[in-house]
């Protein structure tokens, strides 16, 4: 039976390219060093060297591919949830911590409920997520802003309308 070793070959190529880039940006570093000091380039070069040598080893002797890491539909789900992470950053920047947290809690609880409680009607899941988002959001706000006195983003929109 023919076994694939595509993954290791891709990793090998990426490693060689990455090390070349690190060597290139490190070579442009230029500042004086004290006597005996090998200088600021030594460790980036060591890092690049390790990546380069091991990348070449993988290219010469790639291992067999293991079981599938994620299926096509699983990659889509992963991309979807990463999109929600990005949305949180956008909301934090735009409307601030107070609004972004409950919105995020609502979306994520709804998404996870679709997996954990698929038998429940959508309306029930939405109401449950909404109640949880408001209560947990309020608790997080009290804990962070009042309890820990953390400085969290207030949001661009609120700054504009102040």
């Amino acid at each position: 039976m023919k076994t694939s070793n595509k993954k290791d070959r891709i990793l090998g190529i990426c490693s060689v390219l990455l090390s070349a880039w690190i060597i290139y940006i490190t070579s442009s570093l230029d500042f004086p060093t004290s006597k005996g000091d090998p200088g600021p380039k030594l460790f980036p070069y060591i890092g690049a060297g390790l990546i380069l040598v091991c990348g070449i080893i993988l290219l010469i002797k790639p291992g067999k591919d293991g079981k599938t890491f994620l299926t096509k539909s699983q990659w889509k789900s992963a991309a979807l949830i990463f999109g929600v992470y990005l949305l949180f950053v956008l909301l934090l920047w735009l409307v601030g911590f107070m609004i972004a947290v409950p919105i995020m809690l609502f979306i994520l609880t709804l998404m996870f409920q679709a997996q954990s409680r698929p038998e429940d009607p959508v309306k029930k899941r939405v109401i449950r997520s909404l109640i949880y988002a408001i209560i947990a959001g309020a608790l997080i706000y009290v804990a962070y802003v009042i309890g820990l006195q953390a400085k969290l983003p207030t949001g661009l929109l609120f700054k504009l309308f102040k």
Partner: protein
């Protein structure tokens, strides 16, 4: 002196605040340890950004209680669901779940809970004295020895892990490069600003990296894979039964597991998972009657549970005495200490005895709290596994991403966390072990600083690295372990192909 510090630490733990932190940390650890997929380290990572706001002693009491709770709670999912709560509890599934299938989960749970406690307590007591002795010896070491120690620790993690060596070294190389981003430790000048972006001056924040690499990535993959065990658990668990007979019949095995766990915990990068697997394999090998192993052998439960818990005390020794993290939980400990402005190194025990002895005492009290809960509250175990994860996961994501912002007080921390999340997924995709990466990322700044100081302070062009006996020992040990890691799979492969050839020859003769 030690007695005074211990007494003071006991006084601090037995305040209202101290008890709340220890009890809450222990119980939270047990719950997260019991739920497959999460583990207590996720909670530690999520708590890191708020660690700097806490009193250092209370923070450490909370963190160690979570670690001990998580380690002990892992057996609950393993025995009741047949899915390990944590990677350290994998061996408990093999025999522990068989007891549940046979309708007697209490016997396995009682043995696991008692072994966890008996594994933890003496290992912490030993660590109290060992740390002091090792730290007193280590304060006399110079830059050469420290650099060699960091080198040895990184290579040991790579060499002893069962992962692909070349891939682990790619992770190490990447971590070394990433750790050099920011201010140069010797000259103080900026290094790798990527288009003059001043945000990179402080480097890539360790807390943000861990929030991305652990919490955000774990939840993302849990959602994508949708493998969560359904909470359709209808097992009834009765009251705790003292496993006196099970322990007395296996006392030698218990002692072997305890010693093995302690030694493995001491070695960088191995920790609970390796301790439990090695102990289980050893006891299986030594057993006269192997017929029950894998079908409900109580020693299978006792060996793994004892070893993984005694590994906690073993891991605390290099962490506190030398500032070398033993496993992922220890890396989080170091991050929490650093966020408090406390740098783990051999002087820690002398400079901050209050914090150090608080860790030990809180660990002891936490072990007792967990034993009390797990013995008195054993019938509540199935309820722990029914906690609705859709609430828990959304909460963890929000806290983790908020924490990433808090760790730098800028959006840069959030981008670093999201970047680390992607990096973590890519590392998993290509089979790169994250522990050598993390170990190198945390130790690389010290390795660079001590190496360059070693060269600057040298009169022989850096020959001290190999002429000073301790430094040379560390360098040789690290290198040998790395070579062993590269060579051992080849030897195994050679043996396997020899055996295959012999089998083929025998088959031909028979024909």
């Amino acid at each position: 002196m030690v007695a005074e510090y211990l007494l003071q630490a006991f006084k601090d733990v037995f305040t209202v605040q101290g008890l709340i932190f220890v009890i809450a940390g222990s119980l939270a650890g047990v719950i997260l340890g019991a739920i497959p997929g999460l583990g207590s380290s996720t909670l530690l990572v999520v708590l890191l950004p708020i660690a700097y706001k806490m009193d250092p002693k209370m923070c450490m009491a909370l963190f160690i209680s979570i670690v001990i709770g998580g380690m002990s709670g892992g057996c609950i999912g393993s025995i009741l669901l047949g899915i390990p709560g944590t990677s350290s509890s994998l061996t408990t599934v093999w025999d522990g779940y068989e007891f549940t299938k046979q309708g007697d989960p209490v016997r396995a749970l009682s043995a696991a809970v008692t072994s966890s406690f008996l594994g933890t307590l003496p290992s912490i007591i030993l660590a109290i004295f060992a740390c002091r002795a090792i730290a007193m010896w280590a304060v006399n070491l110079g830059s050469w020895e420290y650099a060699a120690l960091c080198y040895c620790a990184i290579l040991m993690v790579v060499g002893l892990s069962k992962a692909n060596m070349a891939k682990s070294m790619i992770g190490v190389g990447l971590a070394i490069f990433m750790a050099t981003i920011g201010t140069d430790p010797i000259s103080g000048r900026p290094r790798f600003m990527f288009g003059g972006n001043v945000e990179f001056l402080g480097g890539l924040n360790l807390i943000s990296v861990m929030l991305g690499l652990f919490a955000s990535k774990i939840i993302l993959l849990e959602y994508a894979r949708h493998e969560k065990a359904n909470a359709s658990l209808n097992i009834k668990v009765g009251k705790f039964k003292w496993p006196g007979k099970d322990l007395s019949h296996n006392i030698l095995g218990f002692l072997r597991a305890w010693i093995l766990g302690l030694v493995i915990g001491f070695l960088p990068g191995l920790g609970g998972p390796v301790a439990s697997i090695m102990s289980y394999s050893m006891e299986n090998m030594l057993a006269k009657d192997k017929s029950k192993w894998g079908k409900g052998e109580i020693m299978g439960v006792i060996s793994g549970e004892t070893a993984k818990n005694s590994a906690i005390g073993g891991a605390l020794i290099p962490l506190i005495a030398l500032g070398i993290p033993g496993d992922a939980s220890c890396v989080q400990f170091i991050s929490a200490l650093q966020s408090q402005g406390v740098n783990p190194n051999p002087l820690l025990i002398k400079d901050r005895p209050d914090v150090v002895y608080m860790i030990f005492v809180a660990a002891l009290v936490s072990a007792v709290v967990i034993l009390l809960y797990e013995t008195l509250g054993m019938p509540t175990f199935p309820a722990l596994l029914k906690i609705p994860y859709h609430y828990l996961y959304s909460f963890i994501v929000v806290i983790a991403l908020t924490g990433a912002y808090m760790s730098t007080q800028t959006f840069f921390g959030l981008w670093v966390a999201l970047g680390s999340c992607v990096l973590g997924i890519l590392m998993d995709l290509f089979g790169i072990n994250s522990l050598p990466f993390l170990m190198a990322f945390i130790l690389s700044p010290q390795l660079e600083m001590y190496t360059r100081r070693g060269f600057t302070g040298s009169t022989t062009g850096g020959a001290e690295f190999i002429t000073r006996p301790i430094s040379a020992t560390f360098i040789i040990a690290g290198t040998l372990v790395l070579i062993y890691g590269f060579v051992s799979p080849l030897i195994k492969k050679g043996r396997k192909s020899k055996n295959d050839a012999a089998r083929e020859a025998a088959a031909e003769l028979e024909d």
